[in-house]
């Protein structure tokens, strides 16, 4: 299960809307419980550094990734994953997402259109490098998106 607090959830949604029609991206921070459930208490927006078609691709630079790890160490947070948007496309990971995905990380995807956020879903690689959907908390499901 992954729970995204209301503050970072609002930040992700605003980021996806303001960068539309391009894909946005950023990091997820928080804490992990002993049962593996995750609480996201902080997000960090980063620039989509993809050269070329940002409408259907995103990339995070190596320097931004290093800064993201440093931020986690300095603030006693866990770097738990990545969020990105799929403009006018479902919140389902593509093969491009899967090939570059890492174990352990949660991948939150926001399906966005010009007016609002359609869906938010989260995914994690399983032992055979296929995505499995993570359960969002009822708290999240009860929120209006």
């Amino acid at each position: 299960m992954i729970v995204v607090e209301s503050g970072p959830l609002a930040e992700m949604k605003a980021h996806a809307l303001t960068t539309f029609p391009d894909e946005c991206c950023g990091f997820l921070y928080g804490a992990e419980q002993s049962d593996g459930s995750r609480m996201i208490s902080k997000v960090l927006e980063v620039t989509n550094s993809k050269a070329g078609d940002k409408k259907r691709r995103f990339e995070i630079s190596g320097k931004d990734y290093m800064l993201a790890e440093k931020f986690a160490l300095e603030n006693d947070l866990l770097l738990l994953g990545i969020y990105h948007s799929h403009p006018k496309h479902p919140a389902i990971p593509s093969e491009h997402d899967r090939i570059a995905a890492l174990p352990y990380f949660s991948y939150v995807i926001l399906s966005v259109n010009p007016e609002n956020i359609d869906h938010i879903r989260s995914w994690q690689l399983n032992e055979v490098s296929q995505f499995e959907e993570e359960v969002f908390s009822p708290e999240h499901l009860n929120q209006s998106i």
Binding site: Y65, M66, P93, H96
Partner: protein, 92 residues
């Protein structure tokens, strides 16, 4: 000894250690040593041809070793080496 910063997704292969101290003269030696000390790291860092995987970037300080001398890039006791996974994707 040089310091290697392990990215969060790979720490389960280093006993949850974030920073590892390695005695080595080049980046190539650092990679050899760290994959000997933590064998499960190898498949995530090294490709089938024995080179560094294309999805992995190695930084010495703030510089990508591809812009330096690649695996032959020298390291000193004060070098901080970061293993940086490529983060990318897209909608379709």
């Amino acid at each position: 000894m040089a310091t290697v910063i392990i990215p969060t997704p790979l720490r389960k292969f280093t006993n949850q250690t974030a920073k590892v101290q390695i005695e080595a003269g080049t980046i190539g030696e650092v990679i050899d040593r760290i994959t000997l000390d933590f064998p499960e790291l190898k498949k995530h860092l090294i490709d089938q041809q024995g080179g560094i995987r294309s999805f992995v970037n190695i930084f010495a300080g703030d510089e990508d070793i591809r812009d330096l001398q690649k695996e032959k890039t020298p390291v000193t006791h004060s070098t901080v080496i970061s293993i940086v996974p490529a983060i990318a994707g897209g909608s379709f």
